[in-house]
Amino acid sequence: MAKEKKDIISRRSVIKAGVGLGALGLSSKSLLAKEANNKNLPPNVPEWTETLGDGVDVNPYGMPSEFESNVIRRNVEWLTASTESSVNFTPLQDLEGIVTPNGLCFERHHGGTAIINPVDYRLMINGLVDREMIFTLDDLKRFPQVNKFYFLECAANGGMEWKGSQLNGCQYTFGMVHNVQYTGVKLSDLIQETGLKNNAKWVLAEGSDSSGMTRSIPIEKIKDDCIIAWAMNGEALRPEQGYPIRLVVPGWEGNMWVKWLRRIEFGDKPYMTREETSKYTDLLSDGKARMFTWVMDAKSVITSPCPEKPVLQKGIHQIRGLAWSGRGKIKRVDVSLDGGKNWKTAQLHSPVLEKSLTRFTIPFEWNGEEILLQSRAIDETNYVQPTIKELQNIRGVNSIYHNNSIATWLISKNGKVDNVRLG
């Protein structure tokens, strides 16, 4: 990571030096201080006006501005033994609206990214069906399709924060979530093709990556809203998101959204795979563990200000954030400036979709005082996002998964923002 940062710095300094600052003998350090070049400001005519820019086809597949090169997924190296079985985080603090750009959707792999030529792709459906069948990618695209926005959140999002505030960033504490529009075929339509035996109660979804990811899913969920998806945000799935096919399990923990999906087996009992026994079970303080805790409860986060987005000046600011619930739509989001003593209701921005990220904003005026910033989501089932204390009282501190508690950002008098724990 440090090396990557250095590369970014040197690339930026070259870019800016090229437009004239280099001649003034400024160091790359001061260039990074976001100082404007007077030559480009009124009444002067900017450099980019006086010259032609790149023509078409310079970037056949467009990329973000080079000045946005700090908007990237990041990982926490000490968390895992290898990057092939690891996770990185979505830079929520740099994103607007509710759509996560495909290249910024967090990655969680258990055996690295499988690279699959779509002509070699097959989906097998077997077990308690009338006909065991195999579908090609082209076959799947001939079924009636759906286009739906859904959030995908890893059950371990915020997992490092159970005992106390550990990671000082919105990205690292909330970034195992993304929200895209999926295109695919409903599993309930595929079932019509294979038929289903009466005793089919559970599904095993299996990936074709080197971890052979497997999860059991009850038949009711499969029939309700699960999708076999081949596209995200209008284009083919990214390889790291399961190209060419992933399972979409709306509102439920991300581990179940099996990527590089190769097989769906119907059975009469759950399969008790490694991922639903030794992992993704919630250990309580008495040593017992909850199993099959699939739904992602309502949650919210303030994405600006946050540790990565300090408050740079006094006056009016827009608090921006995201809220979501695996049980339906977000109904309301409240924001507190004093650590939860007093709350004001934020504005929700349309579209407010079920099981999707929802954008909220609320203006606030900062006069240099200390602020304890919090947000609290309420979903359409009237569930209220809890404090960490409420969760700890019931579940202890060893659960790892399903921490949907309210976070606190401390805005200090110097405008810096910290992830803090209140008690």
């Binding site: 087996e265 008790m272 209220v384």
Partner: protein, 214 residues
């Protein structure tokens, strides 16, 4: 013209009936029927009751050698785990402690899961390269190291569904959430009684990657 009209109507009717007769079986008529061999090659999962376990066997004595060759470089000779790679042995009695150690012996509720996982995804980066017998041997070695079976016990497709794991009854169903107090959508808005003293800062823990320090 009349005859042609009748013909068209007849044709449409016969198309309609042929489609509707399809719908009783396959609604879309997309995809192909899988052969037994195709399914057998991919259907590798095994369930707690042993369903799906392939014919084969192995004991811990012969498993030690296979384990040393294929597993020990990451998991350690005795399943203690090297660096951040998972420990596989021990942890008994730690689940309710401040530092729970979740291993195949202390936490995993079914022996079938160990077989299923080892066969489908281990060794890391060489998935599905073990033979059935090698997999039974490795599982037997792990079960023996965790004091669950004797070293000469022959684990097989016949008995893997009958192994009693120590933490078999350690899991709770169904999901009790929502498990916090039901506020019915009306939480406190003014002068709420909540602690606002800062008792911890992530900055002080100092484990955030360099890139993000502000």
């Amino acid at each position: 013209m009349l005859d042609l009209g009748k013909y068209i109507i007849f044709s449409l009717l016969s198309i309609f009936f042929s489609i509707s007769s399809f719908s009783e079986t396959r609604k879309f008529n997309i995809g192909k029927i899988a052969t037994k061999q195709e399914v057998a090659g991919w259907d590798i999962d095994i369930r707690p009751d042993g369903l799906g376990a392939p014919k084969g066997s192995g004991d811990a004595l012969s498993g030690e050698e296979v384990y040393a060759e294929r597993c020990a470089s990451c998991h350690g000779d005795f399943g203690e785990g090297i660096d951040r790679w998972p420990e596989l042995v021990g942890g008994s009695g730690t689940l309710s402690s401040h530092d729970p150690v979740k291993t195949t012996g202390s936490y995993w509720p079914y022996a079938s899961t160990i077989y299923d996982y080892v066969y489908r995804s281990m060794p890391f980066g060489e998935a599905q390269s073990l033979t059935y017998d090698e997999t039974y041997k490795i599982v037997a070695y792990l079960l023996n190291m965790n004091d669950i079976i004797d070293e000469d016990f022959t684990l097989s497709n016949e008995n893997i569904g009958k192994i009693k794991m120590p933490n078999r009854n350690g899991f709770l169903l169904p999901d009790p959430r929502p498990d916090v107090k039901n506020l019915n959508g009306n939480p406190c808005m003014k002068n709420c009684n909540t602690p606002t003293k800062i008792i911890g800062k992530a900055r002080d823990i100092d484990v955030t990657p360099e890139d993000e320090k502000s």
